[in-house]
């Protein structure tokens, strides 16, 4: 067979594939009277190594939408949730967002977990004038680029880390510190901000170690840290790694005060880490034990629906949806420019506390510092700071461990 005919067949096949797919993909599902609903997208890593956090986000989003709709929607319109998986990959995420923009014609997108993915989808959303409500990604840059349609409902890296560093320096008064972080954007930015901040306050950094995502054994790093003998060890990691780090540190006899960023706030973390978590100080922006009625209500509904305690990320997602609700209602219109302005003016009680935004669209939420202590024989997080939420006092870990 002449080769050029092969080529022809090949190219025809490619075109056929693309055209058929285009037809398939542009076919819109005929929903019940499209006028009545507004679509909101959620992008989250539902597969891949970060799927556990995607689950936190997905469950909160479903709950929030049910809550809003059960109370008659927003300005009389019901919300329809469109969920897409990104696996924390930029190319999958951009395609997902593009689909949301063009096919689903979403009004706003809530997401993502990974800052790298949020940054990747941001330009497309901004250019097509869709709101991007960031509930979890903490990279400071996301709200620093001056995008009008971006708002973040959780404390960013800078807020979390500086307040954490200040608390540590002022209350724990270490002379030396070691830092251990995941070798990605989260860990790098965290260590940089924290290290600079505590250095200003006279703390000497005696070790700075990194581990690659997917690492399961941290003993090489921990053993170096142990040799450096710091007063406090600052760690930036997600729950899986953090639990392993604590376990392995104690295993090699590294009993020091650990302190971490907000990646570890969930019930599953306490289950994974067990007693090794005792004494740990870390940042949180939401505690399910909070006495505030809104938080109580959120926790109660979440547990009722999903049979597990909400993680910190779930609260971020919930508040993102609530931000939208209050902003649209206060603007009195769905006009995106007006709603974007309204977001910067609303003030409401969310799961995390009183939520209001600055000009850049960054929520000025409270950052809590908690310590894992034993209350009635059970591990729980006790809020140490700020004064308004304080539940207990800092206990040096030596005293918690007994010996």
């Amino acid at each position: 067979m002449p080769v050029s005919r092969n080529l022809l067949i090949g190219l025809v096949a490619v075109i056929a594939i693309v055209v058929i797919a285009a037809l398939l993909l542009t076919m819109r599902p005929i929903g019940p009277a499209g006028e009545e609903t507004v679509k909101i997208g959620l992008i989250a890593p539902l597969t891949g190594s970060l799927a556990e956090h995607g689950l936190d986000m997905k469950q909160a989003a479903i709950l929030a939408v049910e809550e809003i709709n059960s109370k008659g929607g927003i300005l009389g319109k019901k919300i329809e949730l469109v969920i897409e998986d990104t696996a924390c990959k930029a190319d999958l995420a951009t395609a997902a967002v593009q689909k949301m923009i063009t096919q689903d014609n979403v009004y706003a997108v809530v997401g993502e977990y990974c800052s790298t993915v949020t940054l990747a989808v941001q330009p497309a959303l901004m250019e097509s004038k869709k709101l991007l409500l960031v509930p979890v990604s903490v990279a400071t840059k996301i709200t620093e680029q001056g995008y009008k349609y971006t708002a973040r409902s959780c404390a960013n890296q800078w807020m979390q880390t500086t307040q954490h560093a200040d608390f540590i320096a002022e209350h724990l008064k270490p002379r030396t510190a070691a830092m251990l972080g995941v070798n990605d954007d989260y860990g790098r930015e965290g260590l940089k901000i924290w290290g600079d901040r505590v250095k200003e306050k006279g703390v000497r950094i005696v070790a700075e170690e990194y581990f690659d995502p997917g690492t399961t054994d941290f003993t090489p790093q921990l053993s170096k840290i142990k040799a450096a003998d710091p007063d406090i060890i600052f760690v930036v990691a997600n729950i899986r790694d953090a639990a392993n780090i604590l376990k392995q540190a104690h295993e090699i006899g590294l009993y020091k005060q650990f302190s971490m960023l907000g990646g570890v706030t969930s019930e599953e973390f306490l289950q994974l880490a067990g007693d090794d978590a005792l004494g740990l100080v870390h940042v949180s922006y939401f505690e399910p034990t909070s006495k505030r009625p809104v938080a109580q209500e959120f926790v109660q509904k979440f547990v009722q629906k999903w049979n597990r305690m909400p993680a910190m990320y779930s609260a971020g997602v919930w508040d993102a949806f609530m931000t939208l609700k209050y902003a649209v209602e206060s603007a009195g219109t769905w006009d995106v420019d007006k709603v974007a302005d309204a977001i910067r003016k609303v003030r409401f009680e969310g799961a995390q506390g009183t939520i209001y935004y600055n000009e850049k669209g960054q929520a000025q939420t409270k950052v809590l510092l908690v310590q894992v202590q034993k209350v009635d024989g059970k591990l729980r997080r006790v809020i140490l700071y700020p004064e308004s939420d304080k539940e207990g006092v800092y206990i040096p870990p030596e005293r918690l461990w007994g010996s």
């Binding site: 190219l11 490619v14 951009t94 395609a95 593009q98 954007d185």
Partner: protein, 317 residues
């Protein structure tokens, strides 16, 4: 030139022109389809470039995404730090990628089969770690947002609509060039190496030289498409060089049908679209995706291309 008669070049160009014209109205299907089409085209260049290495020269690479990332970073950094035009940047990205291709190609000359595959895998991981750790240059793991779009004169290449046509043109030219290379004297010499290295040596082929040349050509185009990607998405991060990316590029090449050059185009289209079609199934979709890969590879050793040929033979009787 290079053993391609004007006649052949013209005949193949005609098919590409036809495909080009047929694909012109696609953006009418909306931005989503346009975006996917653009991604398919970028992947097509990369997968086809990998085919030069895998399908034509018989050298397996599990680190091809590294060159894609090198192209993207080069072009981005040049245009953002030195104000170089992105068009020049993309070209420079291709060139730097092929320089790295040379760097990887020479030491891996002695290696075969899985030894080569895992070494290239290692190369990909090392590039990723360098992109993360050399943060003074690459701005570290958070990646680089705010990359300038391609300057298009009167056209605003931020819009998917106009970028589509630029991409279509560039992809046609790039894939056509790759096609010509595969049909050229170089392509035939590379194939002779794939078929039998000793026999190629015995008729005077400088096997090491051409193996390295295959790396250079292949990585040049991967770098180009990486640069295009950077100025299209306007955000890049070290994750571009991840093993999973290399594997998805390799999947396109192999499942599409390696050693055919048209196969990888089909692979890029099929796998990208499949990912989209399976979207509604959220967590469940990789069950189907993985199963389909297993089925295609078990029953169609020469990939989708082989399957299409099989079908067309059936149709013609």
């Amino acid at each position: 030139m290079l053993g391609i008669t004007g006649d052949l070049a013209l005949r193949i160009a005609k098919y590409y022109a036809l495909a080009f014209i047929l694909l012109l109205p696609l953006p009418l299907a909306g931005d989503y389809v346009t975006h996917l089409a653009i991604m398919i085209m970028l992947y097509s260049i990369t997968a086809a470039s990998l085919d030069i290495l895998v399908g034509y020269t018989g050298r397996l690479s599990l680190g091809h995404a590294a060159f894609y990332a090198i192209g993207a970073y080069t072009s981005t950094l040049l245009s953002m730090n030195l104000g170089v035009s992105p068009w020049v940047g993309i070209l420079a990205g291709g060139m730097l990628a092929s320089l790295f291709g040379l760097v990887l190609g020479i030491p891996s000359l002695k290696l075969r089969g899985p030894y080569l595959a895992i070494s290239t895998l290692g190369f990909g991981v090392i590039v990723q770690l360098m992109l993360i750790n050399l943060d003074w240059l690459t701005r570290g793991p958070l990646g680089i947002p705010g990359i300038p779009p391609l300057p298009g004169g009167p056209l605003d290449l931020r819009s998917k609509f106009s970028f589509y046509y630029v991409a279509l043109m560039l992809t046609s030219v790039a894939v056509y060039t790759l096609h010509m290379i595969s049909r050229s004297r170089i392509g035939k010499v590379l194939m002779s190496i794939r078929e039998d290295e000793d026999a190629a040596l015995s008729v005077g082929v400088n096997v090491p030289l051409f193996k390295v040349l295959a790396f250079i050509i292949s990585t040049f185009f991967a770098g180009l498409s990486g640069g295009l990607y950077a100025h299209y998405i306007r955000y890049i991060s070290p994750a571009m060089s991840a093993l999973s990316e290399s594997i998805s590029i390799l999947s396109m090449t192999i499942i599409g049908g390696f050693g055919t050059l048209t196969g990888p185009l089909m692979g890029a289209a099929m796998l990208t679209i499949l990912q989209e079609l399976l979207r509604p199934y959220l967590e469940y979709r990789y069950l189907i995706y993985g199963a389909l890969i297993v089925i295609v590879m078990k029953f169609f050793p020469s990939g989708i291309y082989g399957f299409v040929q099989f079908l067309s033979r059936k149709v013609r009787g």
